[in-house]
Every structure is written in structure tokens, then in C-alpha cells.
């Protein structure tokens, strides 16, 4: 079950899950990705978004994105 939609996310990168009581912190890049996921964006769109927004190579961003999504899966956020 995807619990992204129930998460409360603030601008500082603090994330709270009201159903489980768990909280998380993300950095700016992590927040960027989470917000795009909440908007229902696909992986390729998020990658493009990272490239447009940040000073980063495609190779690095792609690897980091995959890694971050796997981390979200391990927390059962997606």
C-alpha cells in the first residue's frame, strides 16, 4: 500500500506519518523528490526535474534517484 498521500511534509523536510506516528527528515534534494512523487510524477520526469533544478550530471542524479527510491521502499513509503 502506498502511504505517500497520507504523509504530512513541511518545507524544512520534516515528514510525519499520522497513521503510524513515524517521522523522517529529508534534505533538500530528498524533499524535491518526495514532493514530485506526491504529485504523481514518474521516475523519468523526476530525473529531468532534478537536472533542471540542480547542478548535477545525469549519471549521478540517476544513480542517486534509484538509490533514494529503494530507500523509500525499505521504509515502505512507496
Amino acid at each position: 500500500m502506498n502511504r505517500l498521500h497520507q504523509l504530512a511534509v513541511n518545507d524544512e523536510g520534516f515528514i510525519f506519518d499520522p497513521l503510524t506516528g513515524e517521522s523522517f527528515t529529508v534534505n533538500r534534494t530528498g524533499l524535491f523528490i518526495i514532493n514530485r512523487l506526491k504529485e504523481g510524477k514518474k521516475e523519468e520526469e523526476i530525473l529531468q526535474g532534478l537536472l533542471d533544478e540542480f547542478n548535477v550530471s545525469k549519471e549521478v542524479a540517476e544513480r542517486d534517484l534509484i538509490d533514494f527510491l529503494e530507500k523509500l521502499k525499505s521504509y515502505r513509503i512507496i
Partner: protein, 450 residues
């Protein structure tokens, strides 16, 4: 303008995650850009990665510091360098220059000390496996032989007969000093009377002269009182021997075992807090000597301190080769050095430093070595910020027991350099290649691939 990129990180907030020192573990990290003023980058560019780096300065400092703790309290102190702790020639040579004699535990180590230029009389020969031919050489050359078992007494009597001379020997004792596990497999047990039997046996034959006592109660001993007990028992036994058998015990060798500033796995306190300062050991040991020695008697006190001298003088630089995400969410890094080079990773949790400033929140990470083997783990629970491929990590202290117990397994062993006191860098052991590994192999003619 585009924003500065930082690797995306998410960390679960656990209650109690803040440590009691008030600093957030999310941002703690240790950075090291050089060793003795030589940059990590330069070292790796020139000598490759992984790379062992020994600091001559630190090695001498540690030796002097520990030696002086004892020599400033007692007039007759001698250190014996425990070869098995690190028998690189350069390391041994530095410590011999500082005044240590050699302490060896096999025919091989004995040969090594001799080859380096150490005279037999300056070699302590310990260990349970001294072959007859080793003993013969050691007797001829006047080494200090510390007998481990009754069979060795018999062997030495044979050698004495053969060479037609009486031989000065010492015996190794084992005893209860409160340290568990008790090292009872080496030498003769004091409490059961076995040690006394050994002395009787030596006295009977008249071919051997007992002039020293030796013991080594264990390693990484965190309780200075254990040494006080050891010293008390040894001195009392020495007088029992002198009074009943007419031997003069000229020296008491209390072995090694002082801890280094390393962190044992499973301990909570950092080593700066958990490991008592060397002065505390020296104080307890010398106090115990003075309160048990007879007035005017100052037998030589020998120490065979290994890890406490060399451990902190050596570092291992390794490079992050790749990273991956484990199914449990932890970040894993594959480094180019593993348990093949760091044998002590099985019981130590090393200090890990990063060669550059890294931005981003720490996350629970695992450090793996390069081996295709499940056991190849350097650290299975460390908080690290997200690391790029090619980032260098510096592990320390690694000077004790790694350059002797490392294995050529799957990978070659790398360069070892020493940063000299004048800031120059010397290769003290070259990286291996295939010829080193295959030099002793023979392929039977009919198996050759054509």
C-alpha cells in the same frame, strides 16, 4: 542559476537518536586530509589504493612514551619488540634504534631478527614450538630462551650435552591474575605447582641454569590491577626459587598485553575513555615490584608490549569502489580493502575518517571489502554521509597484527609506505604481483595446458 546538488537522503527519526553530548549524530563526521602533513590524495596518486601508511614519528613517540612511563619509575627496564605484532623490517628497525631488543616466537621470526642484524643475546625466544635445530642455534648464539613445556627442557638438555655447555634459560609461567579467559596453555602453571616442578627438573640435571621468569597474561588488558597481581606472584616465586635452589633470577619478563586506543566491538565507550593511560599501568606495576622486591634488589624488568606501541602508528587508506542499497534500507559501500588486509576487523571497530568534506545527512551504512565472500565486512553499522565513488576512507589504528596476519586471498597485498620524520615517504613493502604468489608453485608437466 541551478541549485547546488546534494545527494538525496531520508532518515527515520528515532526517539533518543540525539546522543547525550548534544551533538546531532546526523551531521557528525571525521575528516582527514593528510597523514603527518602528506596529503591523502598525493599518497594514493603515487602509491595506489589501498595503501598502508606508517608514521615513523608516531611510532617513535609511542615507544618513548610507553618506555619512559616505566623507565622513569624503575632503574632497570628493557623492552622486547614483539615481532608477531608487526615484523616489517622498517618497523622493527625503528624500534631497535629506540632500544628494544627482539622478542620472537618461531624459528622464522628468529631468523628474521638475525637477518636484520640483531645479535642472539638480544633476542628473546618465546613460544611453544621451538624445533631442536632452532634451539641449537639459539643456544649457540646466546639467546634468551623462555621454556614453554617439559619437552622443551628435555630438548635443551640434549642441546647442552651436544654443545658441551651449561645453558642459561628462563621459564614461562601462567597464573590466575583475574583475567578471563586465563591464558593457561603456555608455560607452567604457578598455582598447581607445575612451575615448581619445572624448576626442580631444571635444577636436578645441572645442565641448565635458570636466570629468568616470563609470563604473558593476555592481550588488550584493560585492568592495570591484573599486572600488579602478575608482578607480585612472579617476584614471590623468584625468591622461592632463589632461596631453595640457589639460582639467581636476573630478570622478570611480564610480557605484553597493554591495550591500544582501538575500540573493541561490542564496547560502548570510546577508547579515550575506556583505555586507562599507560601511566596507570606503569604505576601499578612498579608499585607491585617495589612492595615485593627485597631492599637493594633490582632485577631487570622486561616488557614485550606489542599493540600499544605500533597500533596507532599505522593507517589504511581505502577507496569507495561502489555503493548499493541493502534490502533493509541501509547503505552499503564496497571498499577496495577488506578482511584480507584487516584481520583485526574481526574484533575491532576502527576509527573511520573521510578524505574530504561531504555534505548531507548521515545514514546507517555498512562497509564491505572487495572479496566475494560473505564474511568480508569492515563495519556493519556506521553513520556516514552519502559518499561518492572514489571517496577515500582512512581506517585506524591498524598497526598491530594486520601486516603479519593479513592474507593473500583473492587480491594482491598493496604497498606499505612509511612517512619518515623528515616528511619524505618511503615504500617499506612493495605491492605484490603474480610472480610473488606463483614463485613456489610447480605445475606437473602433464598438466600443462597446450
Amino acid at each position: 542559476m541551478k541549485k547546488v546538488y546534494e545527494k538525496p537522503v531520508i532518515v527515520k527519526v528515532e526517539t533518543g537518536f540525539m546522543n547525550k553530548f548534544g551533538e546531532s549524530p546526523l551531521y557528525q563526521r571525521k575528516v582527514r586530509t593528510d597523514i603527518d602533513g602528506v596529503s591523502i590524495d598525493e599518497l594514493v596518486k603515487k602509491y595506489g589504493s589501498p595503501l598502508f601508511v606508517i608514521s615513523e614519528k608516531k611510532l617513535r613517540e609511542k615507544y618513548r612514551n610507553i618506555y619512559n612511563a616505566f623507565a622513569s619509575r624503575y632503574p632497570n627496564v628493557q623492552f622486547g619488540w614483539s615481532y608477531k605484532t608487526n615484523y616489517l623490517k622498517a618497523v622493527c628497525a625503528v624500534l631497535h634504534q629506540e632500544g628494544a631488543i627482539a622478542e620472537v616466537v618461531s624459528g622464522f621470526e628468529y631468523e628474521k631478527a638475525r637477518k636484520l642484524g640483531i645479535e642472539g643475546k638480544d633476542i628473546i625466544f618465546n613460544g611453544p614450538h621451538k624445533r631442536l635445530e632452532d634451539l641449537e642455534i639459539a643456544v649457540k648464539e646466546g639467546a634468551k630462551i623462555h621454556i614453554d613445556h617439559f619437552d622443551e627442557i628435555i630438548d635443551l638438555e640434549k642441546v647442552a650435552d651436544k654443545l658441551g655447555k651449561t645453558v642459561k634459560v628462563a621459564i614461562r609461567l601462567n597464573m590466575d591474575t583475574g583475567i578471563r579467559p586465563q591464558w593457561s596453555r603456555f608455560g607452567f602453571n604457578l598455582e598447581t605447582g607445575q612451575a615448581l616442578d619445572a624448576v626442580k627438573r631444571i635444577a636436578q640435571s645441572g645442565k641448565l641454569i635458570l636466570n629468568g621468569l616470563h609470563a604473558h597474561i593476555g592481550t588488550f588488558i584493560l585492568d592495570p590491577n591484573a599486572y600488579a597481581k602478575e608482578v607480585e606472584k612472579m617476584v614471590k616465586f623468584a625468591y622461592e626459587i632463589e632461596d631453595n635452589f640457589g639460582f639467581k633470577i636476573e630478570y622478570i619478563d611480564i610480557g605484553g598485553g597493554l591495550p591500544s586506543k582501538n575500540k573493541l566491538k561490542g564496547t560502548y565507550l570510546p577508547p579515550d575513555i575506556a583505555v586507562p593511560p599507560v601511566d596507570e599501568y606503569a604505576e601499578k606495576i612498579i608499585d607491585a615490584l617495589y612492595s615485593n622486591l627485597r631492599p637493594g634488589d633490582f632485577p631487570k624488568l622486561i616488557l614485550e608490549t606489542g599493540r600499544a606501541i605500533v597500533d596507532e602508528a599505522e593507517y589504511l587508506i581505502t577507496t569507495v569502489f561502489a555503493s548499493k542499497r541493502l534490502p533493509d534500507g541501509r547503505k552499503a559501500y564496497i571498499c577496495d580493502a577488506g578482511v584480507n588486509l584487516l584481520f583485526t576487523a574481526f574484533w575491532y571497530k576502527f576509527n573511520v575518517e573521510i578524505d574530504r568534506e561531504v555534505y548531507g545527512v548521515n545514514e546507517p551504512s555498512v562497509l564491505y571489502g572487495p572479496l566475494c565472500m560473505n564474511i568480508d565486512i569492515i563495519d556493519d553499522g556506521i553513520l556516514l554521509p552519502p559518499l561518492e565513488r572514489g571517496t577515500r576512507l582512512i581506517f585506524s589504528p591498524v598497526g598491530a597484527y594486520n601486516n603479519t596476519q593479513w592474507m593473500q586471498f583473492i587480491e594482491y597485498r598493496p604497498n606499505i609506505v612509511m612517512i619518515m620524520e623528515d616528511g619524505t615517504v618511503e615504500v617499506v613493502r612493495e605491492r605484490e604481483d603474480l610472480t610473488d604468489i606463483e614463485r613456489r608453485e610447480r605445475l606437473p608437466e602433464k598438466l600443462k595446458i597446450r
